[in-house]
């Protein structure tokens, strides 16, 4: 897959997620792919972005040379604060998250399974990213959206019957949006609601280990 193509697919994920954000929502975007969501904010809705390192009103990156290194996002990169935002410390920031005041969190994933379990912070012996705020975010946010590639770099499914990696949290995921599909976690497992324009239902099923229930009508995004 060419880099251009890859970028387009990541954009498609971000744009699809934007449509799930309710008006007046307080939203936290994880590092990486989820951050792209900020580039496609809907003009007809008021969305307030929360940055877990300590402010609301997260705005765009400043022009080169105009960075303020006291205003960074959760990845440590300079951003800006919009009118109506405010600063606070980490204890307050996570009170907002854990206390149920966050409407939506969008995070990346290594594995998601049929029960809505999520693994996204650790591959034993290989990758030690640390959970950062992820464990609190998925436990505290009203809606948890996972944004990720449908398969890993070896072409293996990331959407499983049961997660194998250490869990970030149990039964927390509400929606999974990938370059191939839009899936909802329900008490009866995963429901495939939409597929990407350049794929087929069969292709999605082939690249998914988890059982997918098909929605009555499968839309395209």
């Amino acid at each position: 897959m060419s880099d251009d193509n890859k970028d387009l697919k990541r954009e498609r994920i971000a744009k699809r997620i934007v449509r799930e954000l309710p008006d007046n929502a307080l939203v936290n975007l994880g590092v990486g792919l989820p951050t792209l969501v900020a580039n496609f904010m809907p003009k007809d809705k008021t969305i307030l972005l929360h940055s877990e390192n300590g402010f609301t009103g997260l705005g765009p990156m400043p022009a080169k040379g105009a960075e303020d290194w006291d205003i960074v996002n959760a990845g440590g990169f300079p951003v800006s604060i919009l009118a109506g935002g405010c600063f606070f410390d980490s204890a307050m920031s996570f009170s907002i998250i854990r206390g149920g005041h966050l409407d939506v969190t969008v995070l990346g994933g290594l594995e998601v399974d049929e029960a809505g379990n999520l693994a996204n912070y650790l591959i034993p012996g290989k990758m030690l990213a640390g959970m950062g705020g992820a464990m609190d975010l998925v436990v505290g946010a009203r809606t948890v959206i996972i944004a990720m590639e449908h398969v890993n770099k070896y072409g293996e499914p990331k959407i499983l019957k049961q997660c194998r990696l250490p869990l970030t949290a149990q039964r927390v995921v509400n929606l999974i949006v990938t370059d191939m599909a839009f899936m909802r976690v329900t008490p009866r497992g995963l429901v495939l609601e939409e597929i990407a324009a350049d794929t087929t239902v069969d292709d999605v099923i082939k690249n998914t280990e988890a059982h997918l229930t098909l929605a009555p009508t499968i839309a395209t995004f």
């Binding site: 980490s90 854990r98 990213a129 640390g130």
Partner: protein, 219 residues
């Protein structure tokens, strides 16, 4: 009154094997000059409590690189691959703590609480060895307070009573860490007389602060 001194004099009080909380979030709001002074001094076998390990060439990351840390308690190691390498080779002990739990455990330490009940970490490796309590049908982990011998707080303005203003998103862990150490050291860009800092803009009340290291007094 507070001890007001150079960065070098401030860290001279720190001996090998000390535990230090270091505020900051991927180097934003991190007391980088105190860390540099500590590196120069050669102090080792440290226990560091910090949200992250910064970058390999900056802040806590430098202490990792120079093998000064015995144990690191942190939540997020993404920007510093050194940590994972040193952990896997057995050179460094790492305890991962969810970020919100880290903030609350430190706050508990500073606030005289014996712990908190949090839903975060239930059903994960984080719950290992911890007590679980059910309240109103929901499970919570009992998480214990964290305290340290020292804490490094980065301020933009500090008055001679120790009241510190920490600007914008650099507040992060600096506020709770100021509360939870036996000896809190503030590295400040600007030092002012009592009364010169608006009492409504104080991020850290001076009562928590013991030493003020004035960056400009760095020799």
């Amino acid at each position: 009154m507070k001890q007001i001194c150079t960065l070098r004099a401030a860290v001279a009080q720190i001996t090998d094997c000390a535990s230090i909380m270091i505020g900051g979030f991927v180097c934003c709001g991190m007391a980088l000059r105190l860390i540099d002074a500590l590196l120069e001094q050669g102090t080792k076998e440290l226990t560091i409590i910090s949200n992250d390990a910064g970058y390999p060439d900056k802040g806590v990351g430098k202490l990792v690189g120079a093998n000064r840390i015995r144990k690191l308690i942190a939540s997020y190691l993404g920007p510093n691959p050194d940590v994972g390498r040193k952990m896997n080779s057995g050179e460094l002990l790492v305890e991962l703590v969810p970020q919100g739990t880290l903030a609350e455990r430190i706050r508990c330490g500073g606030a005289g609480l014996g712990g908190i009940l949090t839903p975060t970490g239930i059903g994960t490796e984080v719950e290992r060895g911890k007590q679980i309590i059910t309240v109103d049908g929901k499970q919570y982990l009992v998480e214990m307070p964290l305290r340290a011998d020292f804490s490094f707080v980065k301020a933009h303005v500090c008055d001679k009573m120790g009241n510190a203003f920490i600007a914008k998103s650099s507040k992060n862990f600096n506020v709770v860490m100021a509360m939870a150490a036996r000896h809190t050291i503030v590295e400040t860009d600007e030092l002012v007389e009592p009364g010169a800092l608006d009492p409504e803009r104080v991020s850290v009340p001076g009562v928590f602060v013991k030493t003020i290291a004035w960056s400009n007094s760095h020799e």
